[in-house]
């Protein structure tokens, strides 16, 4: 008999990292292959499941950054180190690191969109010999919403980092402005071969990809990741379907040539 993909397994919480009042990262035990951009269906039995993308990969652990919205995610916030969570996965295609090696790479993330791309940023941070130049542009609503503050300090030493907020609210440590404002001034040696990854809310992705095309990026060198309602993660429940594409199976990461055609 084949395996029952719906049965979740128990995973132990190894660490809880609080970024903001409503966003925590849970470090959970997981042995197995996993790629940045993939996701797990995380459940608290009695409430339900939610697709959460992998925001970090350790040896024997994965990080899942969870936002306190909706019934499912609130319950998780009452879990602590040593507690256990049910989950299943990983699902989805994820990012293929090899596509970005030996290239100038620009990663642009809006809000929680930083989670799925964080594994890429981590990789090139620790393997700087594999990149011809790496830029991270990350945008948040306000300074209070900034995720992974400690990592930013670390990344800043290894790559070009632009951390920006929509409104600073008296905080003078970060830039103010939308991520799109920094695209025209991007310093690149050869835009024809440069790669870009864009993840964030739909409107942010729309304007950011437009900005990149205007800056001279080729469509086929841009990758995006879609967030959709996903009840199964395995091509059955139908919630994630757009045209003939199942975001959970064929995505969530898409090359822009394909991704731009997806109209809900």
């Amino acid at each position: 008999m084949q395996s029952n993909e719906y049965l979740p397994f128990l995973s132990e919480i190894k660490a809880v990292i609080k970024h903001t009042d409503i966003e925590y990262t849970f470090r959970l035990t997981y042995e197995g292959n996993v790629k940045p951009g993939q996701f797990f269906e995380v459940s608290i039995p009695k409430y339900g499941e939610a697709p959460i993308s992998v925001s970090g990969i350790g040896s024997g652990t994965v990080d899942l950054t969870i936002r306190r919205v909706g019934k499912v995610t609130n319950e998780i916030f009452e879990r602590y180190v040593g507690d256990k969570l049910f989950m299943r996965g990983p699902y989805g295609n994820g990012f293929d690191i090899d596509s970005y090696k030996e290239k100038e790479l620009v990663v642009i993330a809006g809000g929680t969109g930083l989670s799925p791309v964080k594994g890429i940023v981590d990789y090139f941070c620790s393997h700087s010999q594999d990149t011809k130049g790496m830029t991270l542009i990350a945008g948040f609503k306000t300074p209070k919403d900034i995720l992974f503050r400690e990592e930013f300090v670390h990344w800043q030493q290894k790559m070009n980092v632009i951390l920006t907020v929509d409104s600073a609210e008296n905080d003078t440590t970060c830039k103010v402005g939308l991520v799109t404002e920094y695209i025209p001034q991007l310093h690149l040696n050869n835009v024809n071969e440069a790669a870009a990854i864009v993840v964030g809310p739909p409107m942010m992705m729309k304007f950011t990809t437009q900005g990149l095309l205007k800056r001279g990026f080729h469509e086929e060198n841009i990758w995006i990741s879609h967030e959709r309602k996903m009840c199964c993660g395995i091509g059955k429940c139908g919630h994630c379907k757009i045209d003939d594409t199942y975001v959970c199976l064929d995505g969530p990461v898409f090359n822009f040539v394909k991704g731009r055609q997806l109209l809900d």
């Binding site: 084949q2 049965l7 009695k46 959709r228 309602k229 429940c237 919630h239 045209d243 199942y246 109209l263």
Partner: protein, 340 residues
Amino acid sequence: MGYCLDQAGFNQILNEWSKEYFVYAPKLFKDGGSFSDTDRIRYGEIHTVEEIVFDRKSDYSYKEILLPLSQTLFFFTDDMVKEADLPKKGAVILLRSCDLHAVKRLDEIYLQNGCEDYYYKRLRDRVKFILIGCQHSFENCFCVDMGTNRIDNYDAYIEMKNGEIYVDNHNDVWKPLFTTYSRRTPEVIPAYATENKTHIHIPDGITPDIAHSKIWDEYDSRCINCGRCNFVCPTCTCFTMQDIFYVDNGKVGERRRVWASCMVDGFTDVAGGGCYRKKNGQRMRFKVLHKVYDYKKRNGYHMCVGCGRCDDICPEYISFSNSINKLDAAIKEVSINAVK
């Protein structure tokens, strides 16, 4: 091979089958309709041939046997899960040609699209199908245009004529039963509808751009997003996960999957409040294109089998077949606008 049985003989067979199978067929449910003066035909377990409704189309399809409206997947406590048991017996399902074609669509999603679905597979492996003949078309059917009016991969075929039951059996295991209880062995050729009143034409040349057409706008107000069209459809396969926990012990409960409708609010909602198709016209477009365009792009043949149940059930008299027939004009409209 063909057989002719009287009702008592067939009931003997049903009785034999009941040791191994639940037998499901379209049945009359009194006052089960949405209007108080109507009865509903839907699937239920039968024990005698007299319970089977042969002369009307069932309002709901057989699909609830393979995909129960609410299906428990497993039971859980705080730190363990236990898979739900399989039904004790297999199933024999009596259904018409369009519905047997629809089984192929369910199989496509649940066995081919990504990994095999554990719960579907374990039911599906134990199901036998008996084709009910269609001596004529029913209202709103357009199976002929969809090419789903005939099929021959059944375990057996059944037809009721002048109080007698005619069977064409393909299943060797059942041969002794039919031999024992039949009175004669005439040749039995499945009856099928050769003509429908409703016709549809699915144009070539649909592209995702058709979403920009104005034809979808009328459904913004006409459709009340009740989802009935999805629930009666033999090829709609979507579900949502639901956790139920027991009142006497809040840590113990079960996870179920329940039918979901792409017409109903919440289908695309993501945590945090995003919703990808707000307007009913957009949802109608999503549904129509899935049935007669994008499913085919992915799987090579259309999803819709032309049973017409969505037209039969819609409380707002929205005709799905009409909406298909508007696609041609919509293609022209968006291509003219693209030139402008």
